[in-house]
């Protein structure tokens, strides 16, 4: 079955710490991969996406993610987090010729000032 697994439901870090949020997926065929962020009280926003090409993709606000096909992973990273990164982060996948996003359960990230 198609699924997305996010390993941590809650992560607490101090400012300036490095961040890595795990995402693994189960999906047959060519995939498109996404990370969305939801800041408190706001709507879901696209952080970054991978469709093809360089497996290391850079997004907004200093975030990046690496697609490792052999591991079915698309982990999100940021070298130095800020208090304003406090939010919930969702990984999502869809087939390249599809439109239905399949979502992970989300990771709540809290940054201590």
């Amino acid at each position: 079955a198609q699924s997305v697994s996010q390993h941590n439901h809650h992560v607490i870090l101090s400012e300036a710490a490095s961040l890595e949020l795990g995402c693994n997926y189960s999906y047959g065929g060519t995939v498109n991969l996404f990370w969305y962020v939801q800041y408190p009280g706001q709507h879901l926003q696209l952080l970054l996406k991978y469709f093809s090409g360089d497996p290391l993709v850079k997004g907004i606000k200093g975030f990046e993610a690496e697609f490792i096909k052999s591991k079915f992973s698309f982990n999100l990273r940021k070298p130095s987090v800020q208090w304003s990164d406090t939010a919930e982060y969702f990984c999502a996948v869809k087939g390249a010729s599809n439109y239905q996003l399949i979502w992970g359960a989300g990771t709540k990230l809290i940054i201590k000032p």
Partner: protein, 113 residues
């Protein structure tokens, strides 16, 4: 409008009642999606419109759920005989074309008591 607008933002209804949730997509976006997000989970696909027609309604949980988009812009998600298990945040998203970035509204939080 500037973004996807969903109304109401909150809806409390009694079990067995009928509700309508409205979505105003970004002007010019041909694709419109409805997702449902239950507490502690990622969004789940409900239905997708391309123009006026429902291209895929395979995610609707049962025949109490129905959605329309009569003029290819505003969409209404309709739920009959609501049940407590229908309580969730209902998200609407739109994209310019299939396979382009989807922009999300803030959602309607439905509570069935």
């Amino acid at each position: 409008g500037a973004g996807v607008s969903q109304t109401p933002s909150n809806k409390v209804t009694e079990k067995g009642k009928y509700v309508e949730l409205r979505c105003d997509p970004i002007s010019g976006h041909t694709a419109l999606y409805w997702y449902r997000q239950s507490l502690g989970q990622g969004p789940e696909f409900l239905i997708y419109f391309q123009g006026t027609g429902a291209a895929d309604d395979s995610g609707l949980p049962n025949d109490r759920f129905f959605a329309v988009r009569p003029e290819g812009s505003v969409s209404t998600l309709k739920i009959q005989r609501t049940e407590r298990g229908d309580s969730a945040v209902y998200l609407c998203a739109s994209s310019l074309l299939l396979n382009t970035e989807a922009f999300f509204g803030q959602g309607t939080r439905l509570t069935v008591v």
